[in-house]
Amino acid sequence: MDLLVRLFSLVKKELLAVMRDKKSRMALLIPPLIQICIFGYAATLNVTRVPYAVLDNDRGELATRYLAKLEGCGIFQPYAYVNSEKELNELIDSKKAVVAVNIPSDFSRNIEVGNPASIQIIADGRNSNTAAIALSYARQIANTYGSEIIQNRGINFPIQIDDRSWFNPNLITRWFVVPGLIAVLVLINSVLSGALSIAREREEGTFDQLLVSPFTPLEILAGKGLSTLVTGSIQAIFVVLVTMFWFKIPFQGSLWLLCGAILLFIIAAAAIGLCISSFANSLQQAIVGTFLLIVPMVMLSGFATPISSMPDFFQDLTLFNPMRYGLEIIQRIFLEGAGIHDLWRLFAAIISVTVVAILAAIFSFHHKMY
């Protein structure tokens, strides 16, 4: 009972300190809102409105039909029709066009006599991602067009690809990025508030006051952790609501499972923050320490780039990264509607990482204080 009274008053004090300060209150909601808007709207990997230039030496009906398909697919936007290769090159060089389509003069004739016809498509490799995606669309359109022509002649194309993307049928980047952002934002807030809470008390001199009171170091850690859990949850709920109702990302899974996953993840992040704060002697050190850790944690989580394309060493490193598990769990609950039978391995992993982080926080705290 005594323990509960003390712990309660510690958590209450922490929360009062945050909630009474207008700046801290704002800091809880405004930066995440800004970030989620930036990531949700601006950070998209989907390719649309690709400007292209055309040099049509054929001028035949077959060539015009291909160009019409290109224009009508929704990905490309015609920039100019030109008369020479030189002009085509210039448009690519000056970045006015990202893709150039060069149709040779024998295009229609070759098709009519049954020979293979070629189209040259040049893409601006300076932006490799867009180039690759644009090229694959252009190729896909050519393939469909080709099989249509063959079908018209009464022959069936031997292999048909019938593609379908599960969980995100139109492969909208936002569906993937925004739920991931829940994990990123919760990570930043929880690590930072864990790291700052003790550093701030140390700087203001109230930390000694806590240490001479009957609080044990473990209780101080628990109190700090619990209050971070509360503020982190408020923030997480806010971000999840924005994700579901503003960005209208379809939510397929169990809300309870999502809450459980986020709570676990906040505890892990807060423990990491408390670890930092037991080493930091000032607020500045705590802030620098936090960002030194958060950036690699996000990079090694699969949020920006797929883990499977990282070198082996870094892939191994990601196994210790709670962010990796938090991200994957949240994305899968959101888009795939994964249940606990699908995710238990990930949950087991995040629980073990959390336990390690808590033990590390306790150890470093004890080591530094006593």
Binding site: D2, S9, K13, R20, D21, G205, Q209, L210, P214
Partner: protein, 588 residues
């Protein structure tokens, strides 16, 4: 007037306003007007927050006044601030010494900044080193110097260009008494031989003795501009020494006297108490039975008399005590026992074999200059630092290793009254009550008890960070007394405090001690030693002396007039003996 044109500083009706944390505008410097001439040492006296630092920064041109004008060496402080900064000497509170450079390298650096080269530099350095007695330490790194030597080096660096005017902001704060004396004699030499004009701010009242003139500041206003003798003269014929009745000690007597109407100042002095009462005041009749004898007032008596002319300084909402007998027996139990305590940080020995013990209900002072090791000792007692050697018990336990439960027996007031500034006074109290496991009625009762005891009612819902200085101190003490601890630890509680706040503070401490609470205090204000039952004087981690104020007094040579020696003289003698011994040890 001829004098007018030759004044080094001419400050005319200067005002500077600031906004306090609660958002209200207040005048940090309010209509200040004075002059300073060549060859004069002028002391700027007043507690923290009186506006001393602001005034000095205005004089250097680092800040602009809101109204009024300042002329320094004939130059306007706003239009020609750069010029002023280049030609005056200025030593701020935290002087920019490079701790990793040697004494000589620091001096060379400042000489180059002032463009002092060649033979001129050699002669100037020789003179400065001789004046400050630093010649033997030129190859030592500044970081390895003692507090007093660092201040001397700082002074050296601000004097390299041999300026006509030097401004010093609290150069002696936290410095040992011998070094303080030496610093002042350097300044006296500069004034006399180089005809410098010198402005020194200080919150040590006794340092007024070194000044030709004192500017007494309080809450931004300049209350008096006069030679120190005139300030002391304000309390002339008002000062008496009283004999402490047998059933009280001097501090207990002093507390009771302070609460009487008309008492302007009361100071314990050994077994006597010196009081300042206006002549013909009715309280004088009550004092007859304590066989009063006329006494010589000192500067703080004069300061308080001056203050009483400007505001009501009567004691409000202090704990009420009757003149009756109190229980001074049953105080033989030892509650703190320290034996052979050692603390090392790497090679550095911060506390060197210190032993002492404290009895229940006593007020025990850990005295010494900054860096003496008193805070380290204090932190070990509270269990905040592990000891490297020796034993210590506080109420029978070592707080470092004892269960957290044992810490309920102590209360702790940190330096600068640290508390949660974002929270209101009530929320702070609420938190600390909860921290000690209180709830329900017990909690409500404890909070209202300390609320009444410290008269916090008008400020209970104010944000702690916005409390006026005196109330911060009260709230901080209230928080640490909620759980009725047996021992109260206070780290530098009176550093820079207003004399009124200081008086309130000691009355409260006395009250606690009378109720059987043991009080441990660290202070670099050696004048406060008279309030302690027992004390330990430390320097460089060593124990220099231990005992009651009267024991300590024995170290000073007796005064010719048969009056008890001042404790300051004893401290000086103790420090001097220690330094001589240390130097001998260093030479052999």
């Amino acid at each position: 007037m001829d004098d007018d044109t030759h004044a080094l500083i001419d400050c005319r009706n200067v005002c500077k306003n600031f906004t306090n944390p609660a958002g209200d505008l207040f005048a940090a410097v309010n209509e200040v007007k004075f002059q300073l001439n060549r060859g004069e040492i002028v002391g700027l006296l007043g507690p923290d927050g009186a506006g001393k630092t602001t005034l000095i920064r205005l004089l250097t041109g680092l800040m602009k006044p809101h109204s009024g004008s300042i002329s320094v060496l004939g130059r306007d402080s706003v239009k020609k601030s750069r010029e002023i900064q280049a030609i005056i000497g200025y030593m701020p509170q935290k002087f920019g010494l490079y701790e990793d450079l040697t004494v000589m390298e620091n001096m060379e650096l400042y000489a180059r900044l002032h463009g002092l080269e060649g033979q001129a530099r050699v002669t100037r350095f020789a003179r400065l080193l001789e004046m400050t007695n630093l010649a033997r330490f030129t190859t030592r790194r500044a970081g390895k110097l003692s507090g007093g030597m660092k201040q001397k080096l700082g002074l050296c660096c601000s004097l390299v260009s041999n300026p006509d005017l030097i401004l010093l902001d609290e150069p002696t704060v936290g410095v040992d008494p011998l070094s303080r004396k030496e610093l002042w004699s350097i300044l006296e030499e500069c004034a006399k031989e180089d005809h410098m004009g010198i402005l020194v701010s200080t919150s040590y009242m006794d340092e007024s003795a070194y000044c030709c003139r004192t500017l007494v500041m309080y809450e931004g206003r300049l209350l008096m501009d006069a030679p120190p003798a005139d300030v002391i003269g304000l309390a002339q014929d008002m000062c008496e020494t009283l004999h402490t009745p047998a059933d009280l000690n001097a501090r207990q007597f002093q507390s009771r006297l302070s609460a009487l109407p008309g008492i302007i100042n009361a100071t314990p002095q050994g077994n006597l108490v010196r009081v300042v009462v206006p002549p013909h005041h009715e309280t004088r009749k009550k004092l007859e039975k304590f066989s009063p004898e006329p006494a010589i007032p000192d500067f703080s008596d004069g300061f308080m008399t001056l203050l009483s002319k400007h505001m009501d300084i009567s004691l409000k909402d202090a704990p009420l005590m009757d003149m009756g007998q109190i229980n001074n027996t049953d105080r033989d139990e030892t509650v703190i026992d320290v034996h052979d305590l050692v603390k090392k940080f790497g090679d550095f020995i911060a506390v060197n074999h210190v032993s002492f013990s404290v009895k229940r209900g006593h007020v025990f002072g850990l005295l010494g200059p900054n860096g003496a090791g008193k805070s380290t000792t204090f932190r070990m007692l509270c269990g905040l630092l592990p000891a490297s050697g020796g034993t210590l018990t506080v109420v029978g336990e070592n707080l470092r290793t004892a269960a957290a439960r044992a810490r309920r027996k102590i209360g702790y007031v940190s330096q600068n009254y640290a508390m949660y500034g974002m929270l209101t006074a009530r929320q702070n109290l609420d938190f600390f009550a909860g921290a000690y496991g209180m709830r329900g009625k017990i909690k409500i009762d404890s909070i209202s008890r300390v609320e009444n005891e410290f008269s916090l009612t008008p400020y209970m819902n104010a944000q702690a960070a916005h409390l006026p200085g005196g109330y911060k101190q009260r709230l901080s003490m209230a928080c640490s007394l909620l759980h009725s601890p047996e021992i109260l630890f206070l780290d530098e509680p009176t550093s820079g405090a207003d004399p009124l706040a200081r008086r309130d503070f000691w009355i409260r401490i006395n009250d606690l001690s009378e109720r059987g609470v043991t009080v441990i205090i660290t202070t670099h204000f050696l004048g406060e030693a008279e309030f302690c039952d027992n004390m330990l004087i430390m320097m460089d981690g060593m124990m220099l002396a231990e005992g009651t104020p009267d024991d300590i007094r024995q170290y000073a040579s007796p005064r010719p007039d048969g009056q008890p020696a001042a404790l300051e003289d004893a401290f000086l003698a103790i420090t001097k003996a220690y330094k001589e011994k240390a130097e001998k040890g260093g030479d052999s």
